[in-house]
Symmetry: C2
Subunit: 324 residues, 2 copies
């Protein structure tokens, strides 16, 4: 535990509380099953990292710290899209738990999970349309196509030991960073027509998002089921080869044999995790995440003095600190 583990930001505390209330109210379905599926996720202790990032950015760029209703709404929409992607992601990965709770497709059925995800995506489109800003709709629509691209890339590179760090970063961009990058851009579009500023925040979000995914992938190797809220080594089991393993392969080519037999049992998973831990794989992955955080911070530093962006710095370092 350290200062960064506490995700509380006083400057946006009120907005974040309101966001949690609004999320519950926004997802109303005539049918209770859809509602239950969605509710389960919204209650499941999500850290609201995406809305936190967006509200901090909004606070920085708006006049006198008055975040607009449209910006608040976009923060909510982003969390809904994220949640929708989790529901479909869990079907794709066949996950049984998420954030320590059973997944929608496990509690209910695959069918309900497909629909609950569709429903959440559709709700987000509806709220998005109601922002009455076509540029924002365009930017955010791109996220969902990217999400599908990313998952497919992940699927086709499944158990493929030839995957490069470049492939991995591309897949991570589509899967994770696109939502953060594009919503950071969207929050800025709602404030100003300055496309230079919009692009800076896009890049900030992109690098933050990539770092976030890399750290997530490290945690899948180093953490325990208890801490993750899902079984450790899930990525390996699903054939999703990530940075720590890709780096480890340089030192321990014998891992290829385990990949090729698709980690046939839990001993294979344990052996692979131990092999990765015996290399510089995890450290190299960490370094890669740090590089992206530094890039993100560098972009902000060029624009704003440190004092003004202290919350941005805190949330950026928080991303890294999850592994300490």
């Amino acid at each position: 535990m350290n200062q960064y583990n506490n995700l509380k930001f006083e400057s946006i505390d009120i907005e974040l509380k309101q966001l949690n209330i609004n999320l519950q109210e926004m997802i109303t379905a005539e049918h209770p099953i859809l509602y239950a599926a969605a509710e389960q996720l919204f209650n499941a202790g999500g850290k609201r990292i995406r809305p936190t990032i967006l509200l901090i950015i909004a606070k920085l760029i708006v006049n006198q710290g008055k975040i607009s209703n449209e910006q608040k709404r976009l923060a909510e929409i982003t969390e809904i899209i994220h949640t929708a992607s989790l529901v479909h992601d869990d079907i794709i990965d066949n996950s049984e738990t998420r954030r320590g709770m059973e997944t929608v497709h496990n509690v209910f059925t695959n069918k309900i999970a497909v629909l609950a995800g569709d429903f959440l995506f559709a709700q987000s489109s509806w709220y998005l349309a109601n922002l009455n800003n076509s540029d924002v709709v365009k930017v955010i629509s791109k996220v969902i196509t990217d999400f599908a691209e990313g998952e497919v890339q992940q699927g086709t590179k499944s158990f493929d030991y030839k995957i490069s760090i470049k492939n991995y970063i591309e897949k991570s961009f589509y899967k994770t960073a696109s939502l953060i990058a594009n919503s950071c851009k969207g929050i800025t579009i709602l404030n100003s027509n300055n496309s230079k500023i919009q692009n800076k925040f896009y890049l900030y979000g992109k690098h933050l998002g990539l770092a976030f995914q890399i750290i997530d992938d490290i945690l899948d190797i180093t953490s325990s089921t208890d801490k993750l809220g899902k079984p450790a080594g899930s990525d390996l089991k699903n054939g999703n080869l990530t940075a720590p393993l890709i780096f480890a392969l340089e030192e321990k080519p014998e891992i290829i044999k385990l990949i090729n037999r698709e980690f046939q049992n839990s001993e294979d998973i344990t052996q692979t995790i131990n092999l990765i831990k015996s290399t510089k794989g995890i450290q190299k992955a960490k370094d890669l995440a740090i590089e992206h955080i530094q890039l993100a911070i560098h972009i902000m530093n060029k624009e704003y003095p440190d004092k003004e962006i202290k919350d941005i710095l805190r949330i950026s370092y928080y991303i890294l600190d999850r592994i300490n």
Copy 2:
């Protein structure tokens, strides 16, 4: 075969050909698997009924028959949304064939089908946003939430012999008629701000859509696998109780026993189909479809002289004529 089986409309022939070309070009994905999944559907002999309805309406309401690019685009978007819903629908129903071809989730996997559907929904949102008309985006976003509602209602009323015609119509609205109603409204919004006219076309689309679904449900009972492109009795197998069966139950309550044991084998399906055929169920369902078509036509007749709406009359009767 009769005049209505030929869905050729000279007035929109050029636009429909262009639509087929555009659909292929619109769905470009960086990854070939998504492309293949989408392509399979776009090639699979869809009748393009939805775009046909929309283009006919557009032709009627625009000045000098010049359909705008935005209206053409909306017709394309509607077909993409419809296709996306089919992909997810086939996962939900666990269908093995559609339009006589294997379904996406069967050729590829469930995972790819979830993603291909997401991808198509996302593409449609993207093109929708690019129409730069928030009202149209709102109207069309509603369709996807309705689609999810409808499928869930269908799921919860599965094998429930107490389902009423009212429940059935509501479910059919969400599943099918909402897309037709709202896209008919959207095509009108792109032409005029007159909300009275918009609502007339909404209602026209709603009744047409309901009739369309009822006829589809009759065909599932009366037609053969060859003609349907999917196994007859699929609805029964999935527990989807439709108008012919609901009406038949009034005369043959013994069907309840078969429903309650969830049509345990193909003999149960055959027996149920025969029982339905021995009642007035199919005729009553047909009458219900005719009522909705008459309502749809009545709405148009009040607004336009017969001569002007001959294509609208033809497409409306075509919907019915599929069962003759």
